[in-house]
Amino acid sequence: MLTKLHFALVLLLRYKNKHLLLFFLMSFLVSVVSSVFFISSSLQKDIAQTLDAQADITLQRFEAGRVLNAPQSWVDDALDIEGVSQAQGRVYGMHFYEPLEEYFLVYGVDLYDTQVVQELQKVVDTLDTEKFLERKNMLIGSGVKRFFDEFAYTDYYIFRPPDRSREKIYIYGVLDKQTDVLSNDMVLMSMQNAKKVLGVEDDFVTDVVIKVANPKELTTIVNKLKMLHFNVRIITKEDIQRYYKNIFNYKGGLFLALYIVTLLSFMLILYQRYSLTKSDELQEVAILRLSGWKIDEIVWLKLFENFVVVVSAFMSGVMVAFVYVEFFGGGVLQALFLGDENLHMCTSLSVDFDSASLFGLFLFFTLPYLGAVVLPLYRATTKDAMEILR
């Protein structure tokens, strides 16, 4: 056994240039697909984290196919329904910066709510609410910060509400970069300022979010809300989850389809190369047959030799991808999922992956490779060795 292992290693060293070339090529292929896999699964984890904290129901006023601002009284209407544990009105909307066609997501927060302040202190290091409320201040996401820096809005930014007034809002701080997936284009300000900037009237909110104490009562509560107002659109957390899953599957699937084409082409080249009757490998097999090696011994030898190459390449590729995503944020590949149309986003990532999927990738990668290499060699063992050598 050890002698054969030694022989296999000697063979590996003998053809090290060929094996190294294959190793680098395969490592590159694996690292690209693993990077996409890691980025996709990490973003899915991020999104799952955010969706867990979301309200169960979003209630919008929907008339004539358009979303309109909802009356503040809808919050009280929702709270009157049995089973609703929390309901709050949200004020948010897009501020359009016309010269560059960029959008900021303006969001109003209730800074008198202690729970909101506690959560805010987790994402802004130096938040002092009293100081924040002293004048018109705002907290901005990393993408907005880059935009403001580029156009020299270092201290404040002047919004132009629909009533043609000017709202000068000072930059108080920047939201943590780790929350970029959520906050890249976000501008947080007090509820009153947000209403002013977005032109939302005093007794109105953008929509109403509702939390339900018992998930089993969700359908009943949705029905009650529909009975309460006919001009509503109700979006549940499941709808949003399904929507995100579709986007991930679509984008991941598109990439996978392209990758499969590349991988198949690679395997085809390998298969053709190893099928050539004058290849070194076939002549080596013929010599081993003439030296008295059995067919299964030769197959195992070749399997081992290539298995070492393919497993090392797979592990190296995955390790490179892991480092690339975890420490360098996935670079350009990130744009596959995050897009770059609005404010540029280059968020950090923390890898989270499913071991079963990685194992699936391993099988998907190694089995075709071993098949493409070992099958032609196996066929050669059954041929006349002298004929191959001739």
């Binding site: 897009m94 929350t179 997936v181 090392s312």
Partner: protein, 84 residues
């Protein structure tokens, strides 16, 4: 056991071990807490995540849904052709 085999076994085991050690790096809890906090504050699905095309569509949609914006988007035919 030959020196070559021993070196191979040691080297491959070390490689294997480092592979699993690297991959066992857990998802950052700090990141999870911060994302969760941000989500609690806004209760918004992560609009930043939406890729370019979708984001553009969402923006157009919201514009047309009479949320009053400072500068109403001037939607020319060319813009729509480009968007599609």
């Amino acid at each position: 056991m030959s020196v070559l085999v021993r070196r191979f076994l040691v080297g491959f085991s070390a490689f294997f071990l480092s592979f699993f050690m690297l991959l066992s790096t857990p998802y950052s809890q700090t990141r999870a807490d911060k994302l969760s906090a941000m989500s609690h504050i806004t209760q918004l699905p992560s609009l930043s995540y939406l890729s370019g095309y979708l984001q553009q569509r969402v923006a157009l949609y919201r514009d047309s849904s009479s949320l009053l914006y400072p500068n109403m988007l001037q939607e020319s035919k060319r813009d729509f052709v480009y968007a599609y």
